[in-house]
Symmetry: C2
Subunit: 141 residues, 2 copies
Amino acid sequence: MDKYDSLLLKNQLCFPTYAVANKILRKYQPLLDNLNLTYTQYITMMVMWEKKTVNEKELCETLYLKTNTLAPLLQRLKEKGYISITKDKKDKRNLVISLTSEGEKLREKAVDVPPSIAEEFNLSEEEAMFLYKILYKILDN
Amino acid sequence: MDKYDSLLLKNQLCFPTYAVANKILRKYQPLLDNLNLTYTQYITMMVMWEKKTVNEKELCETLYLKTNTLAPLLQRLKEKGYISITKDKKDKRNLVISLTSEGEKLREKAVDVPPSIAEEFNLSEEEAMFLYKILYKILDN
DNA sequence: TTAAATTATATCGTGTGCGACATATTTAGC
DNA sequence: GCTAAATATGTCGCACACGATATAATTTAA
């Protein structure tokens, strides 16, 4: 037991997490190219498809991202015509993000993405469940 | 069971993985600021502390990163004085990356990082083991 | 009731991380 | 020996993701 053992790459939990996250992005990108979305734009659209209308603050909390990441990203989604951005009349500090009909249409194309990815992961039901639980435990503590 | 269920954020495995990876980076950064390293530079230094000398290709494979990410990163580590970069005399295509004495010194300061992080994760031994195994299963398939 | 604190968002600069493409060097095939 | 393929690395442009800081709108409190 060396005093430097804790600094070995193979003894880290952070590193495989980081590497797997990168690997996932690489897997998704070719599929998402068909939708003209990046991965972060894709998970943003997931929220939009579900909620139809949200404000930026909700979006930040849901995606665990900061406004300085989302603000320019939302501009790009707007330019692509998938969302609209307006100000809340009651509280002009709030941005109201809404799904457009163009954005709604994209959903039809997107349904093909999750099954294509699932194949790649190659985990058992049990493993997937456990991984899911433990990741949310880390996120929420 | 809706046809769009597979597009719900809460049904994704990719999303919590991605979010946890981001969260880990945010946890590390304040600690790494004391070492004048970014997270990616830190894991690169982990390899250097262990191996002392590597070429860029090995580094790419070890870290699951591409040369277009590592090349400029290595330049920054060189500028900070933690590594040196030379060309292999036998095969001039190969870059030889070597730990400097300055880089070796940094290791002493870095030993404080892993214990500080471990507290944050708050997983049981068993959970950590399982997470570790499953992440490497994904990485290696 | 108005000045201070809080809240929601935007902007800036830095450093990844990637695909696409370019370059230099070595190896293989003939 | 000479050309073609393979290998290792570099460069470019784009899109995150962050901390730090700024700005505008609303709420609170003296």
